[in-house]
């Protein structure tokens, strides 16, 4: 509760939270209220500009309603972001928790792998992996998680290591607590803040990654709407109909910037000492 109040005091963070919330609410509640289907083709009304012919944001090259497609694409993006986040957070907490707790050679090996993978530009790794897999949402979730869990793992490992020798952990150890109890009941609850921060930033990253991959044709396959694929489609008509590119770009920006604002804000809100230093 204190954390939330501190978060709302940070202007960028509250703005980010509003951006993400509006987007999430819009793409869950709005589509059923609109009279169009994202896959519905209407060749008589192609390239309608926004606010014309009953289409709030116009139509695309085969007459599909842009607003409905944007909302559906954003929904896919958010779902992919959330699934990748859940998967990577769980994996990262388990691995980082174990290595941070036990140390030793497992830790050295795992952290060395994490470090060397994380120093590659993620996007190349992602595209390479994507070209091997069956295109689609589950593949993207898998691939993004494959990279994202390492960030979580590194953070959890560091924090668990820092807290492992603290007296409140030794105290329950002396009362007979098992490693599992110490990790799950004593250590992890004390680092939820740090975990939430990386996880939030990971959602943003996953959304951006989905857009990249779909833009390059290895992600969500047509005719299913995806923000990245919409950007790609719009390329051909950039000159006469720029809004077809601007709109999905804007939605990606809102989601990613909003989540980053929230994540950065959380970093300060969770650990006020860091805020004073900054």
């Amino acid at each position: 509760m204190h954390t939330f109040r501190r978060l709302m005091k940070i202007r960028t963070a509250s703005a980010g939270l509003v951006m993400v919330a509006v987007l999430a609410v819009a793409c869950t509640l709005l589509p059923p209220l609109l009279p169009y289907d994202p896959l519905e083709i209407d060749l008589h009304h192609r390239f309608l500009p926004p606010l014309s012919g009953g289409h709030v944001l116009g139509t695309d090259e085969i007459g599909r309603d842009t607003l409905v497609r944007l909302l559906a694409g954003a929904r896919t993006s958010l779902l992919i972001g959330l699934s990748a986040m859940v998967l990577s957070t769980v994996t990262g907490c388990l691995t980082g928790g174990l290595t941070g707790f036990h140390g030793g050679w497992t830790r050295r090996v795992l952290m060395r792998i994490v470090d060397s993978v994380l120093c590659f530009p993620t996007i190349f790794l992602l595209l390479t992996l994507a070209s091997f897999g069956q295109p689609g949402a589950p593949t993207i979730v898998g691939i993004v998680s494959l990279v994202a869990w390492m960030e979580v793992s590194r953070v959890v490992d560091g924090q668990v290591r820092a807290l492992r020798g603290r007296e409140f952990v030794i105290a329950v150890e002396a009362m007979g607590a098992s490693g599992v109890h110490m990790l799950l009941r004593e250590l992890l609850p004390n680092i939820t803040g740090a975990i939430i921060v990386v996880s939030t930033l990971n959602v943003a990253r996953a959304i951006l990654m989905e857009a990249y991959v779909s833009y390059l044709g290895n992600g969500i396959q047509p005719p299913q709407p995806s923000l990245g694929a919409m950007l790609n489609d719009a390329q051909e008509y950039l000159r006469p109909d720029p809004w077809l590119a601007i709109l999905p770009g804007l939605v990606i920006a809102i989601a990613v910037i909003g989540l980053n604002f929230v994540g950065d804000g959380l970093r300060l809100a969770v650990d006020p000492r860091q805020g004073r230093r900054a």
Binding site: E167, F168, I170, A171, A174, M175, A177
Partner: protein, 336 residues
């Protein structure tokens, strides 16, 4: 079942060596934190362990609790070494031996309420017996340490240092321990609060018959509560004996120094002792480790570690000079 007249805790020839490396590839320069120490604690007895910071008190306490590996030596709890205990014995050991730490702020999980903190030991040992019965136990433990049950839903940060230490003690009591190792349990507290918590420990020993290893760097505080006291210097026990005997006639010059650095034992406990170990002091290599600071040193003190001498009444000292007569604060008083 172990012999009831045998000591509850019997520590024999405990040695702890920390390997220390100088620089990245430097040759190992081992640090002897405990050098062959032995002591016993009888059922219901309070043994004080005193010595300046860095003398090895916490190391000894933690090894006795089996939360720190030792280099060599034996720890017998009820005649069995935790090192060789089977699962069941180990569980019983973890229940019957409890530890209280110095820093009451760091030893409670900041994310748990008092209720959750006190329930943890019950859950760990499968001793939960339904919400109502558990709650009765929690309230009883809080009552023993003088805290009202209205605090159950509060978090540690809402309490003062003294209250937190009471919560720590209540948590240890949840398991009905036979032994409590209190490592500097009052050192971080204000002087007036120190006295209250020391009184609480004495009260618990009286009412529940709990044996206590009371570790502190402040000899007067230790003197108030302890039946016997072990004085540590640089990883060795240099004197061990009954409190009254030690306060009447300390046998080791270091004990005398600790006594003179502080007021008499029945006055209020004093603040942290002024005399601390200088950072880089020659350790009287080869001879008595205390020699560089000893006002009574003689030539013989430089040759070889002084052997442990047994005196009457189970008193022991590691000072060569047996003819030395030093008056303690109780000297001249016929009886305490």
């Amino acid at each position: 079942m172990a012999d009831p007249t045998a000591p509850l805790l019997d520590v024999r020839n405990l040695t702890k060596i920390y390997p220390r490396r100088k620089g990245l590839f430097g040759k190992g320069d081992d640090f002897v934190a405990l050098d062959d120490i032995s002591f016993t604690v009888a059922r219901g007895e309070v043994l004080g362990i005193v010595g300046e910071s860095g003398s090895g008190k916490s190391t000894a306490g933690r090894i006795a609790m089996d939360i720190l590996p030792r280099t060599s030596g034996q720890v017998l709890f009820d005649g069995v070494d935790p090192d060789g205990m089977d699962r069941r014995q180990r569980r019983a050991f973890r229940r019957r031996a409890q530890m209280i730490f110095q820093d009451p702020y760091a030893s409670l999980n900041p994310r748990m309420t008092v209720e959750q903190l006190l329930r943890t030991p019950l859950a760990l040992h499968g001793l939960t017996a339904g919400p109502a019965e558990d709650r009765r136990k929690l309230v009883a433990a809080l009552d023993l340490v003088g805290l009202p049950e209205t605090l159950l839903n509060r978090y540690p940060h809402e309490f003062s240092g003294g209250q937190r230490q009471r919560i720590n003690i209540a948590r240890a009591l949840m398991l009905d321990p036979a032994l409590v190792v209190a490592d500097e349990a009052v050192s971080a507290l204000d002087v007036s609060v120190q006295a209250q918590v020391v009184n609480l420990f004495m009260d618990l020993r009286e009412r529940l018959g709990i044996a206590i290893v009371f570790i502190a760097h402040d000899l007067p505080v230790v003197g108030v509560i302890s039946d016997r006291i072990a004085v540590m210097y640089r990883g060795r026990i240099v004197e061990l004996g009954e409190t009254v005997a030690m306060f009447t006639r300390p046998r080791h010059p270091y004990t005398a120094m600790l006594l003179n650095a502080a007021p008499a034992p029945d006055s209020a406990p004093a603040g942290p002792m002024a005399a601390r170990l200088p950072a880089e002091e020659t350790d009287g290599a080869g001879g008595c480790a205390f020699r560089p600071r000893c006002p009574f040193a003689i030539a013989a003190c430089a040759t070889g570690k002084p052997p442990v001498r047994m005196l009457e009444g189970g008193h022991m000292t590691a000072c060569l000079r047996d003819e030395l007569v030093i008056d303690g604060p109780l000297a001249g008083q016929s009886c305490r």
